[in-house]
Amino acid sequence: MIKFDEIKRAVLVSIWFMFLTFPIMVIRVNPVEHIVEWRWKNMVLVGIGSFLLSFVWNYLMKRKELGSKEAEAGEETIKISLFHRALNEKKIYLPALVIFGIFTISFPFIFSMYQTTIMVTALIYVMLGLGLNIVVGLAGLLDLGYVAFYAVGAYSYALLNYHFGLSFWIALPIGGALGAIFGILLGFPVLRLRGDYLAIVTLGFGEIIRIILENWNEFSFGPSGIANIPRPPLFGMDLSVHGSTTYIYYIMIVLCVFTIFVVNRLQDSRIGRAWIALREDEIACQAMGIDKARTKLTAFSLGATWAGMAGVMFAAKTTFVNPASFTLWESIIVLCIVVLGGMGSIIGVIAGALVLVLTPEYLRAFSEYRMLAFGTLLVVMMIFRPGGIIPNVRRTYKFESVKNADKS
């Protein structure tokens, strides 16, 4: 039943939005030719649209409140853990994993090269997301300049190849190592900074790297970038474009599995515990004998290592790098992947990367509106599902399970 109050509210909302959008939606100006175009139709659309959306919004808000009520009554725990229980239930997750594995392996043969290329991009973002997840999700350090390390990786392959003819397989670890070194370089001065100060300094660092790449022509060839970067070779064979895309796809799969493996191990280790403790209380952490500086630097450099390797992959995939690929927006998108997917949750970050990279790609049909939709998605997700797509339920150390394992 829709109540009178709600209708009144919706009418007010719709009037407010008609007023709000009036100059920008209705009037279009062309100051060059002195033309002013009046689009009254838009006003009607905004009015009707906001009238209807007001109901949807109210309904969702009510459900959100109800949802949290249920959670408080202890029902939500069952709902959440259904998914996580599935993860722990061998009968369910093993077959799922097998099916998923077969699907991933056969992907390039089922779908077109175009699809494979998109998937490679998505996988690069999976890697970036998992790397940033170490910094933001585990250690709780807000890094807005993550793209800098991505750029370091990409340019190190491009430049090493250009000057010394280094091959992809040598450049990959070097890119990772250079990323780590830059991570430490950035980490040192910002160790004392907290929260948003850290965010802005890392942001600045990202911009500095980009601007230097753009302007230092002798070093980086400026805005025009470096072209003709070789794709990864396979035993000296020259692969066709199609073949090498498939090849890169498999390299990416292997790298992603490797990343997941490493991040997973790190999470459950002495260092992983220290990160989480550091996120919760720095002072108590130090009082417990944890070296704050070292622990933070480890997080920074590990995160940067993955960005560096992802950068090498990016250069190898596109065969061309220029500074325009490493803007602040890239950092923001990677951060969105981590938060939207579910901070600290590996599956969540993977899901986040796939959603955020693939959605805009497949929304190309509505290309004009896709960024608008993307922005809306971010806002709506954060309001109605703040934990992310797959919220992290941290595996805690269960003492009994350790004990039982001893006996068996």
Partner: protein, 235 residues
């Protein structure tokens, strides 16, 4: 004057208050005692509307105030001195007092009341231009009480005024609490962990355990009660 009926509140997944019922008459000093985390502070925050109850009713002077915005509740004459004092650290003592009178417009009266609280706590007059954050714990407690008095409350809620203070200062603060009640007929609802002190100044008391009121009686009887003695008086 104040009535809580079957009030329940939640923080996230945890139920903080489980069906709390309390009644306070005008002019009384009533205390609520209990252990850390039993729900004392939550009860006060529920009355002030900061933690709105999920169910149950709260009424003040016969009118329901459940779910009202905190600022509306304050304007009715309910004022709280919260746990940990919560002085505005970068405002001066005078400005802090000014904030207490935020909802009032009677400049002359406000001036008089400032004189009154300076009379109660002369040390505050000395420090009127000092930033609130630089005061010592005891001075901050005095300032917090004064700030609440600046609102001319009909019902004053005090949350652990003795917390972290040296015994002599505690004694002084409790004397003043009695004085405020006697001089202005201000009703006082006192939450304390220091049951001994609280039951001496209050006429009646409630005991809260794990979000439930488990006992209510006159202070005299509570002081004599074996359970209370064992758990809260350390005898």
């Amino acid at each position: 004057m104040l009535k809580l009926k079957n009030v329940q509140t939640f923080y996230g997944n945890i139920q903080a208050l489980k069906s709390v019922t309390i009644e306070i008459a005008e002019g009384e000093i009533v205390t609520l005692i209990g252990a850390n985390g039993a729900g004392k502070t939550t009860t006060l925050m529920a009355v002030c509307g900061v933690v709105p109850p999920r169910s149950g009713e709260i009424s003040f002077m016969g009118d329901p105030i459940t779910g009202m915005e905190p600022d509306k509740i304050v304007s009715l004459g309910i004022c709280q001195v919260p746990e940990g004092r919560r002085i505005f650290p970068y405002l001066s003592v005078a400005e802090n007092l000014d904030m207490g009178a935020f909802l009032r417009n009677d400049k002359m009266e406000i001036k008089k009341d400032i004189e009154y609280v300076f009379d109660l706590f002369p040390i505050l007059a000395e420090r009127r231009h000092q930033a609130g954050g630089t005061l010592s714990g005891g001075e901050q407690q005095m300032l917090a009480i004064s700030r609440a008095l600046m609102a001319k409350p009909r019902l004053l809620l005090l949350d652990e005024p003795s917390l972290g203070l040296a015994p002599l200062i505690i004694k002084k603060i409790f004397e003043i609490i009695g004085k405020i009640n006697a001089e202005n007929n201000t009703t006082i609802f006192l939450v304390e962990q220091n049951a001994n002190l609280a039951l001496k100044v209050a006429a009646r008391g409630y005991v809260i355990e794990n979000g439930r009121i488990t006992l209510t009686d006159s202070s005299k009887n509570l002081l004599a009660n074996e359970e209370v003695k064992k758990a809260y008086l350390g005898l």
